[in-house]
Symmetry: C2
Subunit: 198 residues, 2 copies
């Protein structure tokens, strides 16, 4: 049997991911957890605290993915291939995560700054240094490392951040979407590597 506290967290995750902070209702979370609304406040002081727990858990899942590419010891091409495939695999299993995190960071500026100075925040500097070193050594093209990083994120994350728009515009079903994402795991890496290799 799963503990009530965890039931709450699971329910809260579902509701917050589905509706965002402002759109989520405490009653809806209680219903989804099949418990009394008062229990929410027994385990978590208030909506903000509950949200914080959900958000931190969400980001806690994503952070290792980012740190892998930032701090690993592998070569750059290796890292890129590895990250894009891993990231897409992971996000297919947790489709609401990217849009949830990005939306809430956008909408709660005060929360965002507090969070951005947090310990768990991944630091891309090692990866940028690595790119600069390769550039200096002449092994890759002279491209702004921050642009490379941005491209990796953009190509990997965008379809999951804007799934409704993407499916709507491309006029594709959920299955076609997943097939596209599968194809993307190698396609993206190839394109990024092509864009930096000499």
């Amino acid at each position: 049997m799963i503990s009530t506290e965890e039931q709450i967290l699971v329910a809260a995750k579902n509701v917050f991911h589905r509706s965002g902070y402002a759109g989520a209702r405490m009653q809806e979370i209680a219903d989804e957890a099949a418990i009394n609304k008062a229990m929410l406040h027994y385990y978590y002081k208030n909506k903000q605290q509950l949200f914080r727990a959900v958000f931190m858990q969400a980001f806690g899942k994503l952070a290792p993915q980012l740190n892998a590419i930032f701090s690993g010891t592998e070569g750059i091409f290796e890292k890129i291939r590895w990250f894009t495939a891993d990231y897409i695999d992971f996000v297919v299993e947790n489709p609401y995560l990217p849009s949830f995190i990005i939306q809430e960071l956008n909408n709660n500026p005060d929360f965002a700054v507090e969070f951005m100075s947090h310990d768990g925040k991944p630091n891309p500097q090692p990866f940028i240094d690595q790119l600069n070193k390769e550039i200096a050594a002449g092994t890759i093209r002279q491209i702004n490392p921050k642009q490379v990083l941005l491209n990796i994120f953009a190509l990997s994350a965008f379809p999951f951040v804007a799934p409704v728009m993407v499916k709507g515009l491309l006029n594709i079903s959920e299955e076609e979407f997943e097939a596209l994402m599968e194809e993307r795991k190698t396609l993206i890496a190839d394109q990024i590597i092509d864009s930096i290799k000499i």
Copy 2:
């Protein structure tokens, strides 16, 4: 002197873009428009109607950008260079637009399907056909046109969809961000063209 109805729309745009549908408060919109709350309901039946007006106006600004690349008569390379530069220029002036549209499409599934069957919805088929023709003619590489389209959107839009996350992770100021975007106007196009040209 600007009409009250327009004052309301401007204020509503600001508040909705800032806080999203669920987070927006009618009182806040009234305050921002410096009018009585009852006026909102005099000109627009209710919150949903007001939101619809704002959303349609927002998408109405973005649609021409998309239709340009979808239905223009230019060559593909030309189109890509033109679109990326134009899109970034436009979005720098309207920074909240992409995240607003994508967020609301994600959060209001019923609204999304209704909207996706709307007339104004851009149709990418001509562009996809164009890519397929070039592939058949052997003038560009054999790449899934939908992936190309997705890449164009991802690379162009992502930084504006996740500005807080991007600025936070890359640890850059607003000015640096804008400089990056300026650089991106040509960089993105080069990369996409590189990825499809033989």
